[in-house]
Symmetry: C2
Subunit: 298 residues, 2 copies
């Protein structure tokens, strides 16, 4: 059944209607080659509270670094993390540029010189054990089943699905294939420059181009695909430009305190844009009958 | 018929044998997700003499600029082109770094501020009219039919084909779909940074990352796909690292003076590497029964 975890109503109708029009003869027809769909990850495809899960991965790694070298505890961002500095953590949650910049410097230092094989092993170890504290489940099992069904619907209509997140391209690529059913090359994100020498790729310190946030999202989608998306899904203010670059924009509203979280922080401007421009807003509480699929059902 | 334009012999056998082993149970099996094939463009997929065809596009554009503003004729690289400066043109042909750098600066100036729609129209106008001087045919009709058949063979075995050229990503993406049957997102090349604002993508002056030459080729393939290639095809020294990063390397040797050109300039080191490492070398003269497909046969 198409969109089985979506309750009948205006949101589901709007999606199905758009897909039908985009793939049928008529004024809204989209040629197959142009059928690019792009989705944010954190908060759009999986739970992003209390922080986007990649931060859990990173902070655990940094805790191990401090254990190995206690002198790091006096340096930022280690110090802020150890002291659970509230304004710093809020800056992480809202993707505040200076906080993100300070994190990026530390990312560079921590992972420069690693190979993809080493990094993959670290991410896989994290995926297998890291639990979301409130929900008591592995992060990788907190992927929204309705969005996976939306991927299926789009794919069945000739769309090519790309995930486009402010988070790490290489982090997401580790689980993209088994979690989302898309190849690594369909994952767009913020990324380090890598250097090739003697048969191996090694991570460098510099970021490749810009961060994949705000206007960076359509810029990265264009760089990766040569097109802007026809269908875009997001949930936050950093997705506004990506949503605005698409013909159909889907904004996920986190209003489900019971099964997940209810918040509009960092999404106020995108909710206002949705109202202004007629984007389709998903109420997680009302539009989704199931939030999380059992992995074996995928 | 598989590889219909390839004559029977060792080269064809080596390709067919590799594809069979990579896709059959056994020690050389390659999982579907890892089946990335990457090919250089100039000299590997189409004629690159007297210069890679994109230079013809660029130089015609610059001639128009000089016509509109004759004062440019005193500046480089316009001056070298107008005077047909032999050492400069040789530097273009051999992709000499300082010459390429000087060209890149002029590229940036000429195309900064253009949109993809404007650039596409320029490339399409060139494709429809620009002829290779010796062969008297449109460049777009000088694509090697045997390589298109190799794409078919690989695709039929679950490989995803990427073109990876030192040339312009956005230039190649204009004709990738109709010429090679691959989507724009499967084209990797040297590229400018683009900026998104108010619903539009506009070309900037800076290059995104590094040039897609030498070690830049496996670096760009990794950035685009998250993998190194399993199968790689090239024809020149700037392809050595890409060929070396793959399990199966195919080197096209231009030894066909009659139907095309015979030269080893800028390919001496790659031919030596092929000998040393056992890469499969294509003799265009002996291994290919047909060079150019009729467009209507594709």
């Amino acid at each position: 059944m198409v969109l089985a975890s979506w309750r009948d109503g205006g949101t589901k109708d709007a999606i199905v209607d758009f897909v039908r029009r985009a793939t049928s003869e008529g004024p809204d027809f989209v040629p197959v080659a142009d059928r690019i769909a792009a989705f944010d990850n954190d908060g759009t495809l999986w739970v992003e509270q209390p922080l986007p899960p990649q931060f859990d991965f990173v902070f655990r790694h940094w805790a191990e670094e401090v254990e190995a070298d206690p002198s790091l505890a006096e340096l930022q961002p280690y110090k802020a993390l150890i002291e659970k500095d509230a304004s710093f953590l809020r800056g992480v949650a809202t993707q505040d540029p200076p906080v993100i910049e300070s994190l990026l410097k530390a990312f560079s230092r921590s992972w420069a010189g690693t190979t993809p094989t080493e990094f993959d092993a670290q991410v896989r170890a994290w995926l297998a054990t890291a639990e979301q504290p409130k929900l008591g489940a592995l992060y990788k099992d907190l992927v929204y089943q309705p969005m996976l069904e939306l991927f299926d619907l789009l794919r069945d209509h000739g769309f090519r699905i790309f995930v486009c997140s402010g988070g790490g391209r290489d982090f997401m690529r580790v689980f993209a294939e088994e979690t989302w059913g898309i190849h690594k090359e369909n994952v767009i994100g913020s990324a380090a420059e890598y250097t090739y020498a003697d048969g191996t790729i090694v991570r460098g310190e510099k970021i490749l181009g810009t961060l994949d946030l705000g206007p960076g999202k359509p810029e990265h989608i264009f760089a990766q695909t040569g097109r802007l998306p026809v269908f875009a899904g997001g949930n936050a203010d950093v997705d506004i430009e990506m949503l605005g670059s698409a013909r159909f924009a889907l904004l996920v509203n986190h209003d489900d305190a019971e099964r997940e979280f209810a918040y509009t922080a960092s999404a106020e401007a995108s909710l206002a844009k949705a109202e202004e421009l007629g984007w389709t807003v998903v109420s997680m509480k009302d539009d989704w009958s199931t939030l999380y699929g059992k992995p074996e059902q995928r």
